[in-house]
């Protein structure tokens, strides 16, 4: 999928944001990040709100509560914003850790080669065959649905994809002249791998991390749907879980988080594709 590209190749410069859809995705994500970071300044934390506020439970969307309220009378919009802080952080930490583990293992396998490569790749091939969602489900069900366990479960089950990608990239970079010249200049293997090769292998990892973030959000929400959410924190997944018994007569409780989750995943997928096209114009 990834045509080898080197920084010396004088390709016509392509802009990252090539069309309005990519621009919309970047704007949506930037807006979400901004709102999530600034949330404490303008929205009360629904985690600390008094329960059972009389008269405001399950209100439909209105001027006062833009997206309505839940059975406990909490503002859905406020929960979305505060839940987004947790869900987005969870997804980002999980996908970045996964990308880091995967790149490290893939790079070592590709660079060292031989028996190490064979063993690591056998392991990667085998783990790619395992249905990932059920493994995450199993881990979270056994160890408890805390947010940390969700992050660990996602990171530990998704890294093999990145590892395989990066191994291929390192294998192709290893043959390049700049690596040979670094070796001639007396650079050690550690320096060559992390100082020379790795910086040229970054873009497939960034693409993968973006797609992984979207799928991590989906995983968290789906775990929430199956009832596996951190009971101490409001997340998008937990909003889904709490909407299930009431959405028949209060559809906004489910539609609001459902829409936000879909938009976020779409934005990360579009961003991933945009970065991929930027670095790898031939790919689709």
């Amino acid at each position: 999928m990834s045509a080898p590209s080197s920084p010396t190749m004088k390709a016509p410069r392509r802009r990252l944001i090539a069309n309005p859809i990519d621009a919309a995705a970047v704007l949506v994500l930037a807006g979400m990040a901004l709102v999530a970071i600034c949330a404490p300044m303008f929205v009360a934390d629904p985690n600390n709100m008094n329960f059972g506020v009389a008269g405001v439970s399950l209100q439909p969307p209105s001027g006062q509560f833009w997206l309505g309220t839940d059975p406990l009378g909490r503002d859905i919009l406020g929960q979305l914003i505060w839940g987004g802080r947790v869900s987005l952080t969870t997804a980002l930490v999980a996908s970045i850790s996964s990308a880091l583990i995967g790149s490290l293992i893939g790079a070592v396998a590709g660079f060292v080669g031989g028996k190490v490569d064979l063993l690591l790749m056998r392991f990667v091939d085998a783990s790619l065959m395992i249905p990932r969602f059920f493994l995450i489900l199993l881990i979270v069900a056994i160890f408890g649905p805390s947010i940390v366990n969700v992050i660990v479960a996602i990171a530990l089950t998704t890294w093999p994809e990145t590892a395989r990608l990066l191994r291929a990239e390192v294998l192709s970079q290893k043959q390049r002249d700049y690596v040979r010249s670094a070796r001639v200049a007396g650079a050690g293997p550690f320096r060559i791998l992390f100082g020379e090769i790795m910086p040229n292998c970054l873009h497939p990892v960034i693409v993968k991390a973006s797609l992984l973030t979207g799928s991590a959000i989906l995983t968290e929400a789906s775990l929430g749907f199956l009832g596996l959410t951190d009971p101490t924190l409001i997340t998008w997944g937990r909003m889904v879980k709490e909407a299930l018994p009431v959405f028949n007569y209060a559809p906004w409780t489910l539609l609001a988080p459902g829409a936000v989750i879909s938009i976020t995943i779409a934005a990360f997928n579009i961003l991933g594709d945009a970065i991929n096209n930027r670095f790898n114009p031939k790919g689709h």
Partner: protein
């Protein structure tokens, strides 16, 4: 010898994966907080049952003995005993497997036919209105969680318009062999199958479109056109057959979407399959069922990737093992 080489590559993938799955199961249970026997027994177990499980897991022996004992049991199909359902896990899993295969098989065929069809249509006029709407829709659908699609489908087609029943596999009192059972089943399967199929329709449509666009730039398409073939023959006989190759490589991903989807969609529609069983097992904290289900799902995924390989070699005579 192509066949032996193929078999060897199969074994090289199959055996490590099965080994990995069983080791994961083994390690997870033993790393879990608390006593593994108490965990497996579930919340309602008596002390005697816990003791019995400790015995059957071999928890009193060394770790190697325990692992060997676990392998020995799995090989003969003994997935342990469910203390909440009061039945061996295998006896619970087997009847559910058929229901899941039925639902996801129909969803798979549906998504393949519709997705590939839409992809070809989209590629005949790239940049046209239908193409743009199609691409945008596939991006949105692929990003929507299955539970959202399922719930929306119920709200629109089952509650508002009342075209289809909201849940289950048969109406009350209806079962296999009764008069009208087939029609009843068809009415019950439409919504969950469509929900399960939607993300894969988007997936197949996108892949078919982009590989069709790639293929129709090739010389042999120019040749076919200059021979005077009509556009339909060019697209279907020369273009599509070659574009199909990259669609086949997606089957593995599509199956893993189906597996994840089955847990969600079967729960949304109360479809009595493996996915719904996994949900029940999570709520009941029945870990033996979860562990057994995980092995079965892994086997399904493995088999699907082997079948993909075979189909791929069949379709493309250049691929040889």
């Amino acid at each position: 010898m192509a066949t032996t080489r193929y078999l060897r590559s199969v074994l090289l993938l199959l055996l490590p994966t099965l080994l990995l799955v069983t080791i994961i199961n083994f390690v997870l249970v033993r790393m879990a907080p608390g006593d593994p026997a108490v965990l497996i027994a579930g919340p309602d177990a008596t002390l005697a049952q816990v003791e019995q499980i400790r015995e059957s897991l071999g928890l009193n022996g060394s770790i190697i003995d325990q692992l060997l004992a676990y392998f020995g049991k799995l090989i003969v199909g003994d997935f342990g005993y469910s203390y909440t359902f009061k039945q061996p896990v295998m006896d619970i899993l087997l009847p559910k497997m058929g229901n899941t295969l039925l639902l996801s098989g129909i969803a798979f065929i549906f998504s393949l036919v519709v997705g590939v069809g839409l992809g070809i249509l989209s590629a005949t006029r790239p940049g046209g209105i239908a193409d743009r709407i199609g691409v945008a829709t596939s991006v949105i659908i692929y990003a929507m969680p299955s539970f959202l699609i399922g719930v929306l489908a119920i709200m629109i087609f089952a509650v508002y318009w009342r075209w289809f029943p909201t849940e289950g596999m048969f109406s009350l009192g209806m079962k296999w062999g009764k008069e009208g059972a087939f029609g009843d089943l068809v009415r019950h399967i439409v919504l969950p199958a469509a929900t399960l199929a939607l993300p894969n329709i988007a997936l197949f449509a996108r892949m078919t479109r982009s590989s069709m666009l790639e293929v129709i730039k090739q010389d042999y398409i120019v040749l076919a056109r200059s021979k005077g073939l009509n556009e339909r023959a060019v697209y279907i006989r020369h273009g599509f057959r070659n574009a199909l190759m990259s669609v086949v490589t997606l089957i593995g991903l599509a199956v893993s979407n189906l597996l994840m989807g089955s847990a969600i969609v079967e729960t949304v529609f109360s479809w009595p399959g493996m996915g719904k069983l996994m949900y029940d097992a999570v709520t009941l904290r029945d870990y033996n069922i979860l562990l057994g289900g995980f092995i079965v799902f892994s086997l399904v995924q493995l088999l699907s990737s082997l079948i993909t390989d075979i189909v791929y070699t069949r379709l493309d005579p250049r691929v040889r093992y």
